[in-house]
């Protein structure tokens, strides 16, 4: 790169906006290749900037809501998460008012149940997890020097799902219809009408299942973003630590959320159709729900904690004025925690009467996870000790976070010991522990992140004075509120009681807790005020206001929509500190992709290990279609809650149609030319299919999550096999038990045939035999529909009735799962056929069929495991 300093005569320094440049002047399609431009010529740069600004501009007026760019979607996502958080915070304060005095009647028992259930549910599902996705959607592309994430419309779809599902769940309390069973919804309390009348549990289940869709969408987006959209040269050892954490956490979501989706399916089938999965009288077992919930629920704690710690890993080096000490140790900690956190789930079930040796395994893993967790804390302390620390409001919140989290971690080590847990289980001691961990490990770091990153998003620094007031109110208020809970818990106060009698020593700790909660709330309101207060007159913060070293601080003030002016070549961990003249070179467009010659939104795709440039990826722009898809899909879930089946089916058809239109118009677009000059003499292809394309990775990752949900259902089958004296049960004397062998094997054969048809269609298409490929796709549609029918026909024809016993219910669930996936596979093949007939899929442009063939690998595996489980396994035992 050159040593020429930044030339400030370029247009953007004159504050021009998109509206000032007429479309005709932009000259789209007639611009010379980037490598031939003289970046030192201000006119060249002005033209480039006008084009980039036009291409990436946010839509105007009401069309603003059709935006899909990560900056807009991330901002909505963050704001919505915080709104839900404030709502849940008010619920928390209501609980503290109710508990401030013995025998209080501020809330009724039933309403109190709704309040604490929603408090936990909203904080976990609508704040703690979504705020990770929200912040990552904003920050990740900036940190990776990318213009956008690879699937901007998927982010937008996820956001609308989250908003609709969240409003639905939260809104229920205004009708007195909110769930009352606690945030983990243990059956049979929640499954049986006599204990839980009304729609509460259905709202919880369907609303949250819908939001889980959004989380998995975000996970796909973030994994592909981290692995494939890094700037050239950013090898794995140079990635910002935040990206490591995002990778680990998104991977965890992929294995943690699907078991809950599987559990939700079983739960909802019991609620809606009386299938007895959790009813012991008919062979079911409520413990299965606890397993599935906590296989999700415990990793979720780390899914919440790690991204917040990731913010610390970005903030601490900036204020310690040095690179992080022990980069590899952070990678160890992130990856190690990610794995070990899946071996902890039973520590929520220590009091359920499992054999001590089972508890022992989970107790051991719960102690082991303290090792990587502590490694991170020591790395941060070492970085602070080795640097020259600048004291600031973000650092104040960082130190508060570390102090609070360490206390929560220590009580965590205590409750990880089964004998101690038996004393403290379901008491306020646990409430204190989990709040110390979650607020210290998540909320305080997130507020630190708000103070740290606000100048980048809002253009101005937040007030130091208000920040300090907010911190001390929050820190003192938090400890006043939650420290006494350890005490009230050890006295014996159970969690979730709506009131308590006088004279058993609980008045004082509860009163102190309630006072502390309001002090804490005052602190948080101060933060909110600081963010929202009008500050038109205040000057903008200077660019890179904290003098940080990572790429996100390239962001211009006020912000430009294009992300980065040019996609830089990275050769260090802290380019702004370690690469000479870096910001000026980026701004002068001396790196890759300094222009939008054809008027298209583009970002760069690179290789996984060493980030070598692979492709110039065209990403789609604004659309309302994602919103429609989310609205219709949301309607499916909401209408199903109220058993309005006809409308549910109609909206389901609309939802599928909306998704198909979205895919048809916005994915696998054929570029007008094969490759493009992206500057510095580099030519990159515009179209890639197969393992090098982002779409293939997205399919692979989505199907990994899908397979996890399927494995959870299979786990359910074998769980019942393990806990039942005889399984399948000898229930129908003289009749065939189970789905038989014939029809499942017929189905397996048909699935295998359609799998072959999909593979051959892919291969013949790429060889140019388009006619054969079309025949194979059409044949595959028929075969897979027939296979789906055959797999259902087995249990139907042998007369398995799912409501009488858990065995037929489990068989039916697996058969239905497989049939649904088979139908989806048929739809995909039909879609490919239509694309081929419409000329949108050709032998060289074959993303669609390559990805569908990948889907069919998973589909074939699903069919094989289903048939082996429901038809062949009973023969073997």
């Amino acid at each position: 790169m050159s040593d020429v300093p930044l030339d400030q005569s370029a247009t953007r320094w004159a504050g021009k906006s998109d509206a000032e440049t007429a479309e005709a002047d932009l000259n789209f399609g007639n611009v010379p290749p980037a490598s031939e431009r003289d970046q030192d010529d201000p006119d060249v740069r002005a033209g480039q900037e006008a084009r980039l600004r036009h291409v990436w501009a946010e839509p105007k007026g009401w069309r603003y809501w059709s935006a899909v760019n990560n900056t807009e979607v991330g901002l909505w996502y963050t704001a919505t998460s915080f709104a839900f958080m404030l709502f849940a915070g008010v619920l928390g304060l209501m609980m503290r008012v109710q508990l401030s005095a013995p025998d209080n009647d501020f809330l009724t028992a039933s309403f109190y149940n709704q309040v604490y259930t929603l408090h936990g549910t909203v904080m976990m599902f609508l704040f703690a997890v979504p705020i990770f996705e929200a912040v990552a959607i904003i920050l990740l592309p900036q940190m990776l020097g990318a213009r956008d994430l690879p699937f901007p419309r998927l982010s937008a779809f996820g956001y609308w799902c989250f908003l609709i599902g969240g409003v639905f769940v939260c809104g229920s309390i205004f009708f007195g219809a909110a769930p009352e069973g606690g945030w983990f919804m243990y059956p049979p309390l929640t499954t049986q009408e006599r204990f839980s009348p009304g729609y509460g549990p259905d709202i919880w289940l369907l609303g949250l299942s819908f939001i889980e869709v959004a989380s998995i969408a975000a996970a796909v987006e973030l994994i592909v973003g981290t692995l494939k959209c890094r700037p050239p040269g950013m090898r794995l050892n140079l990635m910002p630590l935040y990206a490591w954490y995002v990778l680990v956490v998104a991977g965890m979501i992929l294995f943690a959320f699907p078991p809950l989706i599987a559990g939700d399916i079983l739960f909802e089938l019991e609620r809606l159709f009386n299938w007895p999965f959790f009813d012991p009288e008919r062979g079911g077992d409520p413990m299965l729900w606890q397993h599935l919930f906590w296989i999700f629920g415990h990793p979720e704690v780390y899914i919440v904690f790690l991204p917040a710690i990731a913010l610390l890993a970005m903030i601490i080096p900036t204020f310690a004025r040095r690179p992080i000490v022990g980069y590899s140790f952070i990678v160890l900690a992130a990856v190690g925690t990610g794995f070990l956190s899946f071996g902890l789930w039973v520590h929520h079930m220590f009091a359920t009467g499992l054999p001590a040796i089972s508890l022992g395994f989970f107790s051991a893993a719960s102690e082991a996870v303290a090792i990587p967790t502590a490694v991170q804390i020591f790395v941060f302390l070492a970085t602070l000790l080795a640097g020259r620390v600048i004291y600031s409001v973000p650092m104040l919140f960082v130190s508060g976070a570390l102090a609070i989290f360490v206390i929560g971690g220590l009580t965590g080590v205590m409750v990880a010991l089964a004998p101690f847990d038996w004393q403290a289980h379901d008491t306020y001691f646990v409430v204190a522990h989990l709040h110390y961990v979650l607020l210290g490990g998540m909320l305080f770091p997130v507020v630190a992140g708000v103070y740290y990153y606000w100048p980048m998003m809002g253009g101005r620094r937040l007030s130091d004075k208000l920040g300090k007031i907010a911190f001390w109110l929050m820190f003192i208020g938090f400890n006043t509120a939650f420290l006494p809970m350890h005490w009230s818990g050890l006295i014996g106060m159970p969690r979730r009681v709506w009131t308590y009698p006088a004279d058993i020593g609980l008045e004082l700790p509860n009163l102190i807790s309630s006072i502390g909660a309001f002090i804490f709330a005052a602190g948080f309101v101060t933060v909110v005020w600081d963010v929202l207060r009008p500050r038109k007159g205040e000057p903008y913060a200077e660019r890179n206001t904290w003098n940080a070293g990572t790429l996100e601080w390239l962001a211009e003030v006020p912000d430009e929509a294009w992300g980065v002016r040019s996609v830089p070549i990275v050769t260090s961990r802290y380019p702004l500190w370690q690469q000479k003249n870096f910001m000026a070179d980026v701004d002068m467009g001396r790196y890759y992709m300094p222009d939008a010659e054809e008027g298209m939104r583009e970002t760069m795709v690179t290789s996984v290990l060493d980030a070598e440039p692979l492709q110039c990826l065209r990403v789609p722009g604004p659309t309302f279609m994602t919103m429609w898809a989310a609205i219709f899909l949301g309607a499916v879930f909401i209408l199903a809650t109220f058993h309005l089946w006809t409308l549910t089916l109609i909206t389901a058809v609309f939802a599928v149609a909306a998704i198909l239109v979205w895919l048809w118009r916005g994915t696998a677009m054929q570029p007008e030319k094969a490759e493009k000059d992206v500057g510095l003499g580099l030519k990159l292809p515009l179209y890639k299919s197969g393992p090098q394309s982002v779409g293939w990775w997205a399919m692979f990752i989505t199907m990994t999550g899908d397979a996890t949900a399927f494995v959870s259902l299979i786990f359910g089958y074998f769980f019942y096999f393990t806990v039942s004296p005889v399984f399948p049960p000898p229930m129908m004397a003289g009749e065939e038990i189970g789905p038989g062998v014939l029809w499942p094997l017929v189905a397996l054969g048909l699935f295998a045939a359609s799998w072959l048809a999909a593979l051959l269609a892919r291969n013949t298409n790429s060889k140019g035999a388009v006619g054969t490929a079309r025949l194979l796709m059409g044949g595959g549609v028929v075969l897979s529909l027939a296979a789906s029918a055959a797999i259902l026909w087995g249990p139907y024809v042998t007369g398995l009735i799912p409501t009488v016993h858990v065995y037929p219910a489990t068989v039916w669930v697996l058969a239905i799962w497989t049939a649904c996936h088979g139908t989806a596979g048929a739809l995909m093949l039909a879609y490919c056929l239509a694309r081929s007939l419409a000329g949108r899929m050709t032998p060289t442009h074959d993303i669609d069929i390559v990805n569908v063939a990948l889907y069919w690998h998973f589909m074939a595996g699903t069919a094989l495991f289903t048939v082996a489980t429901i038809a062949l396994f009973p023969l073997a035992v």
Partner: protein, 125 residues
Amino acid sequence: MAIRNKTRDNLWTLITTPTIWAVHFVLSYGSVAYGCAPNENIFQGIGGYRIFVGGLTVVALGAIGFLFFRALGEWRRNGGRIPHEEDSVEVRERFLEFSTVLLAGLSFIAVLYTALPAAMMVDCR
């Protein structure tokens, strides 16, 4: 992908050792839970399952130890040096080797932790 005693590291080799921990964990817990189910006779001995877990532990520790020493050896022989922040394919490889060493160490300890209950408990109580 061993090429003449040299591993080309990637994200999959990085997570091999914690994956071994996970498999060991699932099989240990799964086998004992199966052995004790439906948990009606709590004084039922689990000797066979303990031997199984013991054998599994030896295999897991052996595999993790092998990967640990191989990654460590390659890292040392090729002049690995923290903090691995240079811009080259070699340094990226060293970084992955070193991170593999760290994760192998953690996985080794975690497998030992998992084996402890089986070493100490004799029945389904």
